[in-house]
Symmetry: C2
Subunit: 434 residues, 2 copies
């Protein structure tokens, strides 16, 4: 019996491309939920998504070959939803609900193709933009980020021989397993994988998801990655993102409408989804402002996802708000998803245990933590703070304020206008690591 | 391109046996050196080797299936030296010397087959004996130990699924790599693999050898495993073992001859080997006794291998002895090989640095350290103190005293006689871990 499979070896060494994105479902579930609503209610809105590298010292254009990047982006544009994937989207139960996707939406999705991109090298960085109809461009966010992050780690790993790579992954696996061992000690904790966009690689994300499944069992509630959810019979998780309130705000014509827009988004959302999908993302223009002006019915929603405030302060602020409205937080849900690591998860869990229902959407630190794993020092394996944000809607500038001014995006003049309207209460500058 | 190679899968799942010993060179190099001398000078001596499990709490007959053990032992008996192996033994340079093996010895070895064994289950342990001509039975020591140790770890690992095994080896690799990182900080250190007999498995030993080669580079001087030395172009290392003085002693007819026998061994050895192969193993009947009665010419030998005294005390005693004989220890070599781990290696290295040349023969803790690696607790992966010692020579009882009474072997009455003759000076009881 030969130890080398010649056919495979030849196939392997003649690869033109090892594609990073092989399925349109290799994206976050909330993109599909939002997409259905955008397709249904805002099919004529244009929205440009743009790559923003907040870690300026990571010189992407030096780390990643432009040709390779184009090949990967081009390849992603050739990918279509497959028959099996369509059947699964139509037949699976999401958040306890059957047929969450309308047949007309699915039949539109059947022909979906990622739209064109605009890529330019500017100094040591790339300018990468996706202009076009919102219901097309929105779908680029996750694959674009996954492609750049994986190309970056592939480039970092070119310096290592097979043995060093073996040690690197052995260490990363050992490290990941220690994390599961710490987490499984917390009774009733709920953790899910939110790490698609920042992952080291697709295969590594898959390994991490398997590690959580094996390691923490029932405490692992699912993954935001639709493909991994399908392949591993896991729950596909996620609700909505900042792009909704951001685009809604940009499209308003008066200050008054702008101030109301964060609540209009929720009303639209409610027309499509219910139950555990009624999760408020309050920080697009500052959580304090959002809570201050929120109509009472917002307190009827299932929960909140504080995404840029420090988790304990952010959670406590929302709990106070529920109590002021006579709502018992014990029946409510907080989803934490901002820059979590095991220490933050444990601290947050211990703080809120018994006070509120909780879920943890674990991202970068789950799927891209290679600190101290390389057999020779490199900082090219450190995760970076890379996002792909909507920057323009129907030709108008789009703004995000966030609870953390470091995470604000948009035109500086427009940011000033938003701050004048929403106020700065509760916004605290914190270092953004990932 | 299919991801499953059907032919290989079918081949794999129809294995009757996954052999542990696939080559007669999968043994310690010193066995071949000793064998040539035994073959040349003592071809008529009979010597029985017997398995001794010093870790009684490890119930080998419960951990290892008798049928599987017989299959592995029987398979080892079918193995012959291959043509390539013969050519390598004849053509390679060992310890800087060409043609270390005589053509007549090699042509005898060409037909060598491991002799029959006697296996019986007694309670929860196995009695395993190899009776017959010394020049046959001596070759069983290493494969017998390797087979039992690997069957034991295979049995321990049956409880784990593929994911758990992945984590187990990832952790073991990460752990091994930490060791290389600590060791490579010591300038000029010389470390070799002596871990064949106690290895977790053949494949794991091979990985550890590769790790040392990659991890500590020049500081890795070679391996005692002849097969691994050949396959990886490493130096094959090792000199001689206790079986020589033990059998020589057993064959003497008077107390006087018995007391002289440890030096007669060295004289015989010198007829065959020189240079760095002139390493004294002084502790068969106690190092103090050996040094006390040693003729002056013993101080001309290249070095000593203190194998059962604590390394610092044992080394210092020999250095004192060299100095008493007007020999500068800086030109002499100490080989440490007893129960080494990274801490002992570093402590010993730091103690003797600049005082004497040193080498470390790293065994069990190199090739069988899975402490805290299993994803679920098990003590079946802990290495045990298993040896295969010569117990009878030409029908006479064979004794080892050692510097550590815990490592003494032989008939209690006979041990008493040896103690009366050699004395007990310097013998200190220490826990034997491995």
């Amino acid at each position: 019996m030969p130890t080398t499979d010649i056919a495979r070896r030849v196939y392997d060494h003649t690869w033109k491309l090892d594609p990073i994105v092989r399925s349109l479902l290799d994206t976050d579930f909330y993109k599909l939920l939002m997409l259905q609503m955008i397709w249904g209610m805002y099919p004529k809105v244009d929205a440009t998504f743009s790559l923003i590298n907040r870690t300026r010292k990571a010189k992407l254009a030096k780390e990643i070959d432009e040709l390779e990047l184009r090949e990967q982006l081009d390849h992603a544009r050739t990918v279509r939803i497959t028959k099996k994937e369509m059947i699964w989207l139509a037949g699976n139960t999401f958040y306890g609900r059957k047929q969450i996707f309308e047949p007309e939406f699915l039949s539109w999705l059947e022909d979906f193709q990622l739209p064109e991109y605009r890529l330019e090298r500017v100094g040591d960085q790339y300018e990468l933009e996706f202009p076009g109809p919102w219901m097309h461009t929105s779908m680029w966010e996750i694959p674009a980020l996954a492609i750049i992050n994986e190309l970056r780690s592939r480039s970092a790993m070119k310096q290592f021989g097979p043995f060093e790579l073996d040690v690197l992954y052995a260490r990363a696996k050992a490290k990941m397993w220690e994390k599961t061992e710490r987490l499984k000690k917390l009774p009733g904790i709920k953790i899910s994988d939110f790490g698609t966009r920042r992952r080291h690689s697709f295969l590594w994300q898959r390994w991490c998801v398997e590690a959580l499944k094996e390691g923490i069992g029932e405490a692992f509630t699912g993954t935001s990655n639709v493909l991994l959810a399908m392949d591993n019979d896991l729950e596909a998780l996620g609700t909505n993102a900042h792009e909704l309130p951001m685009v809604f705000a940009a499209l308003t014509d008066s200050d008054e409408d702008l101030k109301k827009s964060p609540y209009r988004v929720l009303q639209d959302w409610q027309r499509y989804y219910g139950g555990n999908l009624l999760i408020v993302l309050p920080d697009a223009f500052g959580t304090d402002a959002f809570l201050r002006d929120a109509p009472d019915w917002v307190a009827d929603w299932t929960g909140f996802r504080p995404d840029s405030a420090p988790p304990i302060e952010g959670g406590e602020r929302i709990i106070r708000w529920w109590k002021e409205r006579g709502v018992d937080p014990k029946n409510k849900l907080l989803i934490f998803s901002d820059g979590l690591d095991v220490d933050t998860i444990i601290k947050t869990y211990e703080h809120f245990e018994g006070k509120v229902r909780m879920g943890f959407g674990w991202g970068t630190n789950l799927t891209n933590d290679f600190e101290d794993c390389a057999p020779r020092p490199t900082n090219q394996l450190d995760a970076i703070s890379l996002v792909c944000k909507v920057t323009e809607a129907n030709g108008r500038p789009v703004v995000k304020l966030s609870d953390n001014p470091e995470k604000a995006t948009g035109d500086p003049e427009e940011i000033k206008r938003y701050i004048r309207l929403f106020g700065e209460s509760g916004r605290v500058r914190q270092k953004v690591w990932v």
